[in-house]
Amino acid sequence: MTPALFRIALYGSLAICLLGLLWRVSTWFHLRVGPDACNVTVFQRLITAVRGAVSVTFSRGLVHVLRAFFVDVVFQNRLFAREKLRWLGHQLILTGFTGLVLVHALASVLAGKLSPGYQPTLDPYMFLRNLAGVMVFVGIAMVFAGRRRQQTGFPQSRRPIDAIFVALLGTILVSGFLLEAHKIASPRAFYRMTDQFIGTTDPEELKPLRALWASEFGVAFDDMGDGIEPAVIAEGRELHGDACASCHAKPTSAFISYTAAKVLAPLSGALDEARADTWLLYLHLFACFIGLALLPFSRFFHAVADPVSLLVNGAAREREFSSAGRASRRALALDACVHCGLCDSSCSVGPLARHLGNPALLPSHKIVATGAHARRRLLSHGIGPDALLVSEGAFQCTDCGRCTTRCPVGLDLADLWEAGRGDLAIAGLPAPSQWVQARSAFAWAESLDSRSTPDAPSAPLASDRRTFSHCVQCQTCTNVCPVVAHSIDTEHGVDLTPQKVMNLLRLGMLDLTLGSRMVWDCATCYQCQENCPEGVRVTDVMCELRGLAYHRLGSVRNPGGPS
């Protein structure tokens, strides 16, 4: 690669990376999650963050931040406490990756300054490079294996760019090892070096050296023949000591590449012909550059967002967040989520998500949806089927807090869910009781008339006349109903009474009950059912009616839009 092209690609991708980082960080201060986030300006959020950082730095809180840095960021204590296997995998990736960047990518700069004798083909660099590469590989495998074990019944929340990024990472590792392996086995590389440092490429003249390098350095000459005499090798060793040893250790310490070189040996002539060294290098470098440029836009941006989030948590131990602080923290959480799915596998409504076939109930999917809504992508084409699923997911959450407890990044998910529900309610996607009650029972019944409805869920009581045919309309149910008793104003009062609901059902007018306030305001106190002299299961029917309403009214909820 020409130095100019290399430099352009390097600085270009660096620039994209830096701009991307800046842009991503800026979203922490301007993305709005939660109704209260609309009351604070970007400027207030910035000032709050700066002020918070300064005041923590000069207070006792600094101890907590330092603790958070070592315990949570470096050691990853939260992950360690929850998933040992994935913790190990993650630490391997992190250490290996840092190692590769330091002793390999930056080596020519850093190691050259630290130890003047740096050569990539000397130990310990050769060994360390292989070790680091193996660590990353094994780490990735462990993380994937850990994920496999979590069964939520749904694919993990993930974006295409993340898959691309992982593919790039794999390309970098594989091409790196192949390149090193090929160079070990390549006769052409050997002759290029002898030309440069000994001044000849004559095979005969170099025979002793070739003998040594074939037997001990893994070069795959195709014209060596068998039975090289030990004396020749000894001669080669002398030449090697003079010309090569200061830059070349035995490649056996590059344990992966050396093994690969042995495998590639029969092909090395052909690979030389095909100039494999050049295109492998191009592949390796361009994968690095593209990866660098993509980093801020992939979820691996969490490498930046996580430490920040964990440090903020450390700093936040002793203080309440202002609404400006909370707003920024939520936006930060959207980036800091690593989509590990640990929350999903412990979610209280996981079985419900599977039954409904709606992954939007699961926390890691909710994070993605919350981000999409904050970036105005969820409703960009109005309220569509996806948005309805997201709303269902948000409002079926039981606020059990398990996801918050389990999240290895320590995200305050409880706060995020509440904020997200607030946003959805404002956007016209509130809780079922709210969207149903936004229209009158009559209006709902009319829109049901004009539309066919999808298969309703099972409602054996409400659809069986025998359930209420023996109702004698005695009004006992109404008289014991606390909701009726406390309905003293028309604005918040009920429209029907339990007895009237039963009567409508008796008359076959089920549609009229579905949007009724009485049905949706029923406190399920079971007074009516317990007290009914005829044994009518009034409350059980109320619950079934809600289930029916949820599906049937849901199907006519957005006239024009898909159901």
Partner: protein, 274 residues
């Protein structure tokens, strides 16, 4: 005695003291508890689909059955809902086979052998009032306590089998066992207002306030609860988080039953999450 403890969703996140105090007093009474990988009891899903709520409940019943344990829950809504699920599974063959099929995908099965208990009947009947009384070291005399029964445990009585639905006595007996006075109050069997909270806030608040006012007028100093929903709802209205709470005055407070019992046993307040 050994049970699978079903804490539900509300207690760990919003009222951890209830779990702490429940474990503390049951430990004293020789009841051991096992934690299983339970999920939501299904109560919130009842509004959207019968199948969904029964399935969610059945999964938990199946987990308990696999462990060979009965379920004990301190939450009255979880209690009622799990019992309802058992009833629905018993009376609807088609539903049962749908649920069994869904459970089988998780490698689970439920043959109908899991019993579901609530904390109060467990103390009153399985442990026994006598044993509870005998465990008391510091009788809480002078405390005037109103028992908050809670709808989902009491009714429908043919499903919950909690106590006589018109004139229950179990909670008062347990209160008296601690040495406290159990007062009589007209609204003791009424709804606390919590289930209405999201659908109709103002109406819900009126229901809660009526109860609180009644307890106060009846001379209670403490409302004793045994359900996180009742407890949190009353606390929220008492704390004035909603507008009109001033009417009731603030001299009345809520107390979880295992906290009352724990204090009477002589346990330290910290051991009861207080």
């Amino acid at each position: 005695m050994k049970f699978a403890l079903f804490v539900g969703c509300k207690i760990p996140s919003r009222l951890p003291a209830y779990e702490i105090s429940t474990r503390a007093v049951l430990g004293r009474l020789g009841v051991s508890l096992v934690d299983l990988d339970f999920t939501c009891c299904g109560y919130p899903a009842r509004n959207i689909s019968r199948d969904a709520f029964v399935l969610a409940a059945a999964r938990n019943l199946a987990l308990a059955e696999r462990a060979g344990l009965d379920v004990l829950t301190p939450c009255k809504c979880c209690f009622g809902n799990l019992r309802h699920a058992i009833r629905f599974l018993g009376e609807d063959e088609a539903l049962r086979s749908r649920v069994e099929k869904a459970l089988a995908t998780e490698g689970l099965a439920w043959s109908g052998h899991t019993e579901v208990h609530h904390l109060l009947p467990l103390l009153a009947r399985k442990v026994g009032i006598d044993k509870v009384t005998a465990s008391v070291r510091l009788p809480q005399t002078g405390m005037r306590v109103a028992a908050q029964y809670g709808c989902h445990a009491l009714r429908p009585s043919n499903v919950t089998r909690f106590d006589n639905p018109m004139a229950p006595t179990i909670f008062e007996k347990l209160i008296r066992a601690t040495g406290a006075v159990a007062i009589n109050w007209p609204r003791r069997l009424d709804c606390c207002g919590d289930p209405l909270h999201e659908a109709n806030g103002p109406l819900s608040e009126r229901i809660t306030l009526a109860k609180l006012a009644d307890a106060r007028q009846s001379g209670a100093t403490t409302i004793c609860t045994a359900c996180p929903h009742c407890h949190l709802r009353m606390d929220a209205v008492l704390a004035g988080s909603t507008s009109a709470s001033a009417e009731t005055g603030t001299e009345i407070k809520t107390l979880l039953y295992p906290q009352l019992l724990g204090l009477a046993m002589g346990l330290a307040p910290e051991a009861l999450g207080m």
